[in-house]
């Protein structure tokens, strides 16, 4: 009957014995279970969300009044640089890798990742480079303060002349983060290609797996040039080369190409899994199949492809020749097409559904609302003549926060609430969740909507002080930012108390369709172990009345008995 060919390394890995009581110590060990690593990623990154949020609130505190009066401008520059770096490299990338770890193996019916040790090593690099980055606050001269772009020659100035300086540590941390991400990406892609459950062809994979795959493909192609650029920057900073130093014949604009070749697609690395989360959640809470599953799946790779050929839209006003600006304007606007396919598919999924507005659904709807807005300002920014006016102003800040927090952040929260019962075995408190949503939505809107007008009126980004005519927009923005700080309280309260003493979660509290919901909550180590279901239907068969896998009742009963 059953001869399973497990990789013996997986079986020998230090899992807690199945059935043994959970031990909190496993979260602090070099555990190779993807579900443990996933939670390690998510908790670590939520901690850094608080760090980055605190930095943001100091930045917004400075900006609540026109003059530079709260902190010295040099400190302000360091704070906003670190805010961006922490939020990207220590909050968003790790938290989405956490989702990848939790969801990819369970959704495709794999016992673990393809390379469990590599997976654990990739995670443990996060605390390492986090320490490097946080340590840079104590470097002579303070942390990096040239923005997360680190454009030379500004980033090469090194005023105090020390070899170990904030910028040096920053580049080191970013390089380590890149290595960690590459390790993760190799692992995720291999797992998706090789370890799907029997019967799960590519067009039976859940959309989250599609989007994670598309996103990790970007990591594999995009991160190396960034690393190359970072290495060259490091050599310029510390070893006397002049790749980007104009006085030595170098070209500062070349760095911008390296940087944006990765850092624009990086946004899609973040947003694609969130599209996946939206695509998972809307069908569950609308009780309907995902509208146009195949289109949505293929659109993910459409975005991956286009994301590789749009980077120079960040450089419309750097002296880029006109033909290049026009090409990049066209490619950038084309991204609206696959993205539009997804947005319309979600709207189609909602149509004639039976909507249940619990916290994850509210965050999804809020995220979609904000994303439609962000997409429209995105097309405006892609338009060369408009970008020449609003580029590098508060309008850009508003636009990308609408993407990165109001869409991606919302999607992340939705995902946390939705899969919380599955992976902790506890239910969260709905009331606190709704309070969290309301505060977050109002705070986020108040924070970033007004900044669009400040930007249109000509307020540059990254300023420590500004002319008084921009005060009203900034006061509103700062109030919103503080409100977001307050919104974290119900969230933390909810997560901590629910995990500690929330009601026991059933295997499938949302009556969702998907392999992960056929597992007990929390799933045992090795997930389905040596009895993996055979997939026979497309995902999201709500209301269609056909089972997802062969012998579905057996698995449902087994999950209930566990």
């Amino acid at each position: 009957m059953t001869i399973t060919n497990y990789d013996p390394r997986i079986l020998k890995a230090p899992h807690p014995v199945p059935g043994a009581p959970d031990n909190w110590k496993r979260f602090f060990s070099f555990n190779t279970d993807a579900k443990v690593i996933g939670i390690q990623y998510i908790v670590t990154s939520l901690f850094f969300l608080l760090v980055g949020g605190l930095l943001a609130m100091i930045v917004r505190g400075e900006l609540i009044t026109p003059p530079a009066d709260l902190v010295d401008p040099s400190v302000y520059n360091g704070l906003y640089t670190m805010h961006g770096t922490v939020m990207l490299f220590l909050f968003l990338f790790p938290i989405l890798n956490g989702f990848n770890n939790l969801l990819i193996p369970t959704m495709i019916g794999a016992p673990d990742m393809a390379f469990p040790k590599l997976n654990a090593a990739a995670f443990w690099l996060v605390p390492v480079f986090a320490t490097v980055l946080m340590g840079s606050f104590f470097a002579p001269g303070g942390p990096a303060s040239s923005g997360w772009w680190s454009y030379p020659p500004m980033s090469l100035q090194n005023p105090l002349g020390h070899f170990i300086n904030g910028q040096f540590l920053w580049i080191l941390a970013v390089a380590l983060s890149g290595i960690s991400s590459i390790m993760g990406a190799v692992n995720f892609v291999t797992t998706i290609i090789r370890m799907r459950a029997p019967g799960m062809g590519f067009f039976k994979m859940p959309i989250f797996v599609w989007t994670a795959w598309a996103a990790q493909t970007i990591q594999l192609i995009g991160l190396p040039p960034l690393t190359g650029g970072a290495v060259m920057l490091l050599f310029d900073l510390s070893f006397g080369t002049s790749f980007f130093r104009p006085e030595g014949g170098g070209d500062p604009v070349l760095f911008q190409h390296f940087f944006w070749f990765y850092s624009h697609p990086a946004v899609y690395v973040l947003v694609l899994p969130v599209f996946g989360i939206f695509s998972e959640l809307f069908p569950v809470y609308a009780r309907k199949p995902l509208f146009g599953y195949k289109f949505v799946a293929i659109a993910s790779f459409g975005i991956t492809f286009l994301s590789m050929i749009v980077w120079a839209h960040h450089m419309f006003y750097t002296g880029t020749p006109n033909w290049m600006r026009h090409i990049f304007m066209f490619t950038t606007m084309l991204i609206a097409v696959p993205t539009g396919v997804k947005v319309f598919a979600w709207l189609g999924t909602l149509w004639q559904g039976n909507l249940r507005l619990n916290t994850p659904m509210l965050f999804c709807l809020g995220g979609l609302f904000n994303f439609i807005f962000a997409g429209i300002t995105g097309v405006m920014l892609a338009t060369v003549p408009i970008d020449i006016h609003v580029g590098n102003t508060a309008f850009v800040v508003a636009h990308f926060h609408y993407v990165i927090f109001n869409t991606i952040g919302f999607g992340v929260f939705a995902g946390i609430y939705h899969w919380f019962p599955k992976f902790t075995g506890r239910m969260y408190y709905e009331g606190l969740g709704k309070v969290h949503f309301v505060l977050t939505f109002i705070g986020a809107t108040l924070n970033w909507l007004p900044l669009h007008w400040a930007g249109l009126l000509g307020m540059p980004r990254r300023v420590a002080s500004y002319d008084p005519e921009f005060a009203i927009w900034n006061v509103l923005g700062s109030i919103g930012a503080f409100m977001l700080g307050v919104a974290s309280i119900p969230f933390i309260l909810n997560m901590v108390s629910s995990w500690a003493r929330g009601p026991q979660a059933p295997p499938n509290p949302w009556r969702a369709i998907g392999l992960e919901w056929l597992l007990p909550s929390p799933p045992p180590a090795e997930n389905f172990q040596d009895d993996i279901p055979t997939v026979i239907s497309e995902p999201y068969g709500y209301g269609l009345g056909h089972p997802l896998v062969e012998d579905e009742e057996f698995y449902v009963r087994r999950s209930l008995e566990a």
Binding site: M154, L355, R356, P385
Partner: protein
């Protein structure tokens, strides 16, 4: 469940509702487009009206899409909510290939049209004020008359950490940029240290200044007044102080000013980062590392930053 039912014949109710909704949305989109003109500073260059028109067009299209989609979401939220104990499934619609192809093609055509139109606007802007980036190491003395259509210039714009200096063809130097109205002026944008950006919101124009390169840049102011010139590319500690004014005045006033200023002795020009840096030094040089501000440029007319600017 909504009232719309899939049937063979046309559903009069649905058509009426959709028509009203689309009509209303069109009206709102038009209003948003009109309103968008008020979100900008005054139009003070020949480029500004083009930018504002393009922005209004995109605001209109964007508003139509935004209110269309969110209106749809609102409708669904109002009429497709499940009751508290309703655990039934929604309509099992898996997709509609025709509809999906439609909503792939329509955005494709729309963005193609927007991009083509924007490209034409950009070409138009290029004829209003061309720019040319000269490669690193180009000899600046070879750049005379690189915009033959310019009435004034070339005026050298020198950006530093953190001050602006303007050198006029007759050798006059100033800290505020004086320009005659309705005259095409050509600049040579030069940076002596790091990246800066020449950004005048009222002109709707922005150009990064790359150290090691010289950029020839032309524009035509069309409105008299004092407009802010801001550094828009992050340039270090006192980046946000690095702003000055563009004084657009009548041709006669400009000529007078040039003649009068030529006779004035050189004196330290505006150096907006200095006072904060001095404050920092007075407090014991606390804070994170920064390069000191460059010495103030020596100019004939430092200008007066206390006069309020128009935009």
């Amino acid at each position: 469940m909504t009232t719309t039912t899939p049937g063979k014949g046309p559903n009069i109710g649905a058509i009426v509702i959709i028509t009203i909704a689309v009509g209303l949305n069109l009206v709102i989109a038009k209003m948003m487009a009109n309103w968008s003109y008020s979100w900008f500073p005054p139009q003070a260059s020949s480029a500004a009206p083009y930018v504002d028109d393009l922005f209004a067009l995109e605001t209109g299209i964007g508003s139509f899409i935004f209110f269309g989609c969110t209106g749809f979401m609102g409708w669904v939220l109002l009429f497709n909510r499940a009751g508290k104990y309703d655990e039934s499934d929604g309509a099992p619609i898996e997709g509609n290939t025709k509809l999906e192809i439609t909503w792939t093609i329509i955005p494709l055509v729309t963005v193609f049209l927007i991009a083509t139109y924007s490209m034409n606007v950009n070409m138009k802007l290029q004829t209003l004020g061309p720019k040319h980036k000269y490669a690193i190491g180009t000899d600046p003395t070879t750049l005379i008359a690189n915009d033959p259509k310019a009435d004034i210039g070339p005026i050298d714009v020198i950006a530093r950490q953190w001050s602006w200096e303007f050198i006029y063809p007759n050798g006059v130097r100033s800290s505020e940029l004086h320009l005659p109205v309705d005259q095409r002026v050509n600049f040579r944008l030069i940076s002596e240290d790091v990246l800066h950006s020449f950004f005048v919101p009222a002109f709707r124009l922005k150009q990064d200044i790359i150290p090691g390169s010289i950029i020839s840049y032309s524009l035509t102011p069309t409105k008299e007044g004092r407009f802010r010139l801001r550094d828009a590319m992050f340039s270090g500690a006192y980046f946000s102080q690095n702003q000055t004014n563009v004084v657009v005045e009548s041709e006669a006033t400009y000529a007078d000013w040039l003649k009068k200023t030529a006779g004035q002795p050189l004196q330290p020009g505006l150096d907006p980062g200095r006072s904060l840096y001095d404050r920092r030094l007075a407090r014991g040089d606390k804070g994170w590392a920064t390069v000191p501000p460059a010495p103030p440029p020596m100019v004939n007319d430092p200008g007066d930053p206390s006069i309020p600017h128009d935009a």
